[in-house]
Amino acid sequence: MCGIAGIVYKDKKLHNIGNDMTNMLHQLQHRGPDSAGYSIYGGTGLEEDEYILKIQVKESEKLLDKVKDTINFITPIKNDAILPSVGDSFIYKCKISLDRFCELKPLITKVDTIDDVIVINGSHDFEMIKDVGSVLDIAQRYDVRDVKGTHAIGHTRFSTESGVDRYHAHPFQTYIVRDISVVHNGQITNYWKVRDPLERKGHIFETFNDTECLVHYIADKLDTGYSLEEALEQSVEDMDGPFSYIIGTPQGIGIAKDKLGLRPGVMAETDDVFAIASEEVSLREVVDTHHVEQISPGEVMVYEI
């Protein structure tokens, strides 16, 4: 549940989008005090076969070595860094190469089997940053304001029925289709009816969070030949409950809103950017216009560059 935001720079060039998104999310802080997160696309600068892993590791002796050994056994770590966080864990970030994208999930599963270690994210074309706490704290903790990119989505979370921790913070991603991530404001009330058929198809669910379900659903649709717009339209038919969510792909962002229009969403566009958010107060951080449009119930909108 919560506050969501998305922004696309139309010129496909790199901008200080981490800073923009931080400002947007800060204005949505009141919609979600528990945690916040970003997916920032286009600025990773990785080779085609390279991936970034972010792994939450508990502070304990030799645990990190074990993680490194596990990864190195599959593919050599190209470079790495340790990002301090809050609580008794830190984030280990590393770069690896894989021949095929489908090898990423088995690698992550392997790392996840180590006690007190959770892979937060594995991606190629976007940087995911998410943690518990306020937007400004997180931005400072990970120097988000310096992250550059072409487009981004973000989220502030007010937890409803699942836990408050880094792992349950949005965005959620999938390993079925590369670099798809989702932020979501609302609730899927027919969760199990959506999840069950996906599980039977082989999707692996890590949490009971409905947003994870959403990202799997979209990935499945994209995988079976739907365009992003078609997938979003179909989701409006299939999902029940109040929701509006923003999906990020390497090509752009899309938003969908439930048929009764129970969750908010506004958009604004200038010659330079296209922005969407839960509230106008957030748009005003990046768009200097009074021309704000409401996203209608059941409406789907995609902006690709």
Partner: protein
């Protein structure tokens, strides 16, 4: 449970020796026909009686719900109502069959009043264990037992300070008569506690008579204005009520008279069916924004309460607490209502005892238990229920149906028709005259004071000196169901 109703014809015709019976019992002041008083026929809310050759006969026995209003109002004690054993063929009880026949003939679901009536685990399944030598009991007659509580001091400048943790729950003007609202207001003031407007606006008389009054803010927003909120000693955002979880208030057109329509600003004779949810509260951030909005209007002075029907208790309570509520109310499935579909009352929600412990635990998990007050509601009837509710984790309780019984209600479950024989749930002036609100106000206070006293006895014999000090360890369960629902250990050496 079916009932057998019998009228003794000899007693029925006995001379009328009871002074003043007629105005109260049958509303027929014609002394010439006093010999046939028809009180039973006139006052049965369910049409059990029919007149045959000038005499009333309890013909439609299957309609009897056992309220015994006919018996209470018979000047000659000529009537007997007895429960008879459940007549069931496997699952097919007689009441089930009557209901299927009714549905097949009328094509309508059943509306009624009150809440869940079937047996569900409740406070009676728990006992308070006495102190002996391991800890000493406190003397009821010679040693003090505190009962005052402060609710909602988290953000509010003026929290609710009451003399007893028994508050009167929300019942609207419209559902209740003006006289009933006044009686409850008087009773709450005499007992040093607080009453609640319900969702039908605030009567000027009610505000005047009640020392402390909670202004309810429900989804229909009836009678809501800045002035209304500022007159309240607390604001209660009603998200739901235990009796009809997931539905809004129902006030059927029969009770929407000119006065009710004026105070709610709805057309006379129309049904006031409140939306199932607040149009502007769909998710947690909305609730948090709503709390902020109401604080801005009331200048942060009074506590903001949030009342839920018990369902996903832990999630809902955490959201309200994180959203900034001062007081949270959890209303179990035994909670009552003036009107609602029976299927919702009996088959949705969770029992009060379970919701209290779940709410208490949820507040502890997010570290806000000492800041947020917790009020339990739904089926509280006695001092024992109060003591057990507090031991389970509540800071105070709401009584509502019980308060109405103290002013004459006999739980006939027909409030929605607006023909309440006791002048409580009606807008009909001739019926309202039956309720002496000053006397009944004293009854309410007597009842609340006695309940508090009863609870104190249990508190003291358990070795405590203040009602709020009772804890879960002071309880044992007598049934596996209640033990499993609440985490209270079984009596004896039994674990859960």
């Amino acid at each position: 449970m079916p009932y057998r109703v019998e009228r003794n014809p000899e007693l029925c015709k006995k001379n009328f020796g009871r002074p003043g019976c007629c105005w109260y019992l049958c509303d027929d002041r014609d002394e010439k026909i006093c010999g046939r008083c028809f009180s039973c026929f006139n006052n049965c809310p369910h049409g059990v009686y029919e007149i045959i050759q000038g005499d009333p006969y309890p013909l439609n026995q299957e309609k009897c719900v056992g309220c015994r209003i006919c018996l209470e109002m018979c000047p000659n004690r000529a009537i007997e109502v007895n429960a008879i054993p459940e007549d069931a063929r496997q699952g097919w009880g007689f009441p089930d069959i009557v209901e299927i026949v009714r549905q097949s003939q009328t094509a309508s679901y059943k509306l009624r009043s009150t809440g869940a009536l079937r047996r569900i685990p409740d406070f009676d399944d728990l006992v308070v264990i006495p102190a002996q030598v391991s800890r000493p009991p406190i003397d009821k007659y010679r040693e003090p037992c505190g009962t005052d509580v402060v609710l909602g001091d988290r953000y509010a400048e003026n929290p609710l300070k009451i003399d007893t943790p028994i508050m009167i729950g929300a019942m609207s003007f419209g559902a209740l008569s003006k006289e009933a609202k006044m009686a409850l207001a008087i009773g709450s003031s005499l007992a040093g506690t607080v009453t609640n407007t319900g969702e039908g606006g605030m009567l000027p008389e009610e505000r005047e008579l009640a020392d402390k009054l909670i202004a309810q803010y429900a989804s229909g927003r009836f009678g809501v204005s800045a002035d209304y909120l500022k007159k309240g000693d607390a604001i209660e955002i009603k998200i739901g009520q235990g009796a009809k979880s997931g539905m809004g208030g129902h006030l059927l057109g029969e009770k929407v008279t000119a006065e009710v329509s004026r105070i709610r600003n709805i057309p006379e004779g129309s049904d006031a069916l409140s939306p199932a949810r607040h149009m502007d509260i769909v998710g947690p951030e909305d609730l948090s924004m709503k709390i902020s909005q109401l604080r801005e209007i009331t200048d942060w002075k009074v506590p903001i309460m949030v009342k839920f029907a018990s369902g996903k208790v832990a999630s809902d309570v955490k959201i309200a607490a994180k959203g900034g509520a001062d007081i949270i109310v959890v209303d179990g499935m035994q909670g009552g209502t003036g009107a609602g579909p029976e299927v919702i009352m009996e088959h949705s929600g969770i029992p009060s005892v379970a919701s209290i412990v779940e709410a208490d635990m949820a507040l502890k998990e997010i570290g806000l238990r000492d800041q947020v007050s917790l009020v339990a509601a739904g089926g509280v009837r006695s001092g024992a229920d109060l003591a057990k509710a507090i031991a389970l984790g509540a800071d105070a309780v709401y009584i509502a149906t019980a308060a109405l019984i103290s002013i004459g209600c006999r739980v006939c479950q027909m409030c929605y028709t607006g023909t309440c024989r006791k002048g409580i749930a009606t807008q009909d002036l001739s019926l309202r005259h039956r309720l002496d609100y000053k006397e009944m106000g004293k009854n309410v206070a007597n009842y609340i004071n006695t309940m508090t006293d009863e609870a104190c006895m249990l508190v003291q014999q358990a070795g405590n000196t203040h009602i709020t000090k009772l804890e879960k360890e002071n309880l044992r369960s007598l049934t596996l169901e209640a033990s499993s629902l609440t985490g209270v250990p079984m009596a004896g050496v039994g674990k859960i």
